[in-house]
């Protein structure tokens, strides 16, 4: 589903990601863990084409992202941002925001599908889609952001710390919603988090990153059995 080879990203001299590779199988949930600044979010943003200066190859469903038009990629991969307070446009009601990707891509019946999508993420009821973002709670906003990411029916969903901006009680709700969506829609996830508990709950495999480089890749079973090769990973788990 997703192949990243030899990816390096630098922001005007400062290296954010160095020679990193990862492969995610279709239907899998893959986690990226590390301290802040270790380059995990940068990898997601680069996959989405939000960074310009990078080297290496990224393939999504076999398509090289450098050679594939944005609209074609948009149908394959979407992203949910970290902060639901800044990822929704403050001037539009949420129904319009969920419908916007479908309007851009000329899909039929955006209104009807918007209502279905909102229902699907647990924001049913006809009134919800006519609310402005500031009338919703953080958890509700994150549900809207998820509905918007699903609007184009992507196969791969990139989640950048999807719960770190939310209250602990809401985090579990959102994680369970994501798990349900993955099962029902057959999605592939790449989840970035600094919270090992979230990653071990959500992901079958994970990669630990430190200082812009990958440290090691583990399966969930290895993580739970503490079959860990690297000292840094061990320290990270001890701290969690």
């Amino acid at each position: 589903m997703l192949e990243v080879h030899d990816l390096s990203v630098d922001f005007s001299g400062k290296i954010a990601v160095r020679n990193t590779g990862l492969t995610v199988q279709s239907g899998e949930s893959f986690g990226l863990v590390g301290e802040s600044g270790s380059g995990k979010s940068t990898i997601l943003r680069t996959i989405m084409g939000l960074n310009r200066s990078w080297s290496g190859t990224i393939r999504i469903d076999g398509l090289d992202i450098r050679k594939t038009p944005r609209k074609q990629l948009a149908r394959l991969v979407q992203m949910v941002f970290q902060d639901p307070y800044s990822s929704l446009h403050p001037r539009y009601v949420i129904g319009q925001q969920v419908a916007e990707p479908m309007r851009i891509n000329g899909l039929p019946n955006p209104e009807k599908r918007t209502a279905e999508l909102l229902e699907f993420v647990g924001l049913g009821g006809p009134r919800f889609q006519f609310r402005f973002p500031h009338e919703l709670s953080g958890g509700q906003r994150q549900r809207v952001a998820i509905a918007r990411a699903l609007a184009l029916s992507p196969k791969l969903l990139l989640l950048d710390e999807p719960t770190s901006a939310l209250d602990v009680s809401i985090q579990a709700e959102i994680l369970n919603l994501l798990n349900r969506l993955r099962k029902e829609l057959g999605l592939t996830f790449v989840i970035v988090s600094h919270d090992l508990a979230v990653i071990s709950y959500m992901c079958e495999r994970l990669m630990v990153m430190r200082n812009a480089e990958p440290v090691e890749t583990l399966t969930r079973e290895q993580l739970r059995a503490r079959e860990i090769a690297d000292d840094y990973t061990r320290a990270l788990i001890a701290a969690a």
């Binding site: 989405m48 944005r70 609209k71 446009h89 403050p90 001037r91 990707p101 006519f130 402005f132 184009l152």
Partner: protein, 299 residues
């Protein structure tokens, strides 16, 4: 509105949501008494301009040499000028000219500045460099001087005066819109529509410009006072509205000769300019308190 209506007519529901949003805004605005005073002054100005022929007691152009320079009285409420024309009637008709100039300048300068700034900030790169250097060139020339030179070249008159003011009024809007666009273009909500495949055009028009609008509107209300003053200034030195048009600046200019003996001829239009400018400024202040993204907490 019942639930079935909402499903059947989503457009009306969106409008209803926007209306509710506007009512909330209006309620917060009414809590600011000075802002309300400003709003009342501006509405009064609009009212006077709209109904000038019915509010005026005399023909603003008809000289009456018998009544030259007469003091305020029951016949001439605010006195008469050097040709015996009723100052009150001229003032009322002059409000139309004032509004005309303000409207012409705002309608031409704000959109130009908004588009230049939004494109510049969103697209970045060499487009940004070119647009901003052009803006800098216009900002570097003193406002009144450029307006003067322009009017001198094109000839005096209201439309030319408005054009001249426009020429100097748009660059601040471009700067303002660019600053907002720079913040908005990298925000997650713009990235989200970018990831959905939106064109730069769509991003600028539907996602960046709405975010620039509030600061542009605030700036616009503040600018209106400045525009009125500049227009009156051009009228005063004879490069704006031409006689016999009852433009307030030109009225002050003719009254200047009689200021010691017949003070009302210059004072009345001066007071009108003062009150209207004050009204726009108070309104602008109140709007800034409500709309300025830097004063407002995130929501």
């Amino acid at each position: 509105m019942s639930t079935t209506d909402l499903v059947d007519d989503p457009r009306r529901a969106v409008r209803a949501a926007r209306w509710a949003e506007f009512k909330r805004f209006a309620r917060r605005f009414l809590r600011n008494p000075l802002g309300v005073v400003g709003l009342v002054i501006v509405i009064l100005l609009l009212f006077v301009a709209a109904f000038a022929p019915w509010l005026a007691t005399h023909d603003p152009y008809l000289p009456n040499l018998a009544a030259r320079l007469s003091a305020p009285s029951a016949e001439f409420w605010l006195g008469a000028d050097e040709l015996g024309r009723d100052i009150y009637s001229r003032l009322v008709h002059g409000s139309r000219l004032t509004l005309l100039i303000v409207a012409l300048v705002i309608v031409t300068s704000a959109p130009v500045g908004l588009i230049v700034g939004a494109v510049s900030g969103t697209v970045g790169g060499w487009v940004d460099v070119v647009f901003m250097r052009i803006t800098d060139v216009f900002l570097a020339v003193p406002k009144l001087l450029l307006a003067l030179a322009f009017v001198a070249a094109l000839g005096p008159g209201i439309v030319n005066a408005a054009l001249a003011i426009t020429l100097t009024a748009w660059p601040p809007y471009a700067r303002l819109a660019r600053a907002e666009a720079l913040v908005v273009r990298n925000s997650d909500y713009v990235n989200a529509v970018r990831l959905a495949g939106a064109s730069e055009f769509r991003i600028i028009v539907f996602h960046v410009i709405p975010m620039c609008l509030s600061s542009v509107i605030v700036r616009m209300t503040f600018d209106m006072a400045g525009i009125i003053l500049t227009a009156a200034g051009l009228g005063f030195i004879g490069l704006g509205a031409q006689p016999p048009l009852p433009e307030w600046g030109a009225m002050i200019s003719t009254g200047r000769k009689f200021i010691f003996d017949q003070w009302w001829i210059a004072t009345v239009p001066g007071a009108a300019i003062f009150i209207v400018s004050l009204g726009f400024n108070l309104l602008g202040d109140a709007l800034r308190d409500l709309l300025d993204p830097h004063l407002r907490q995130r929501n």
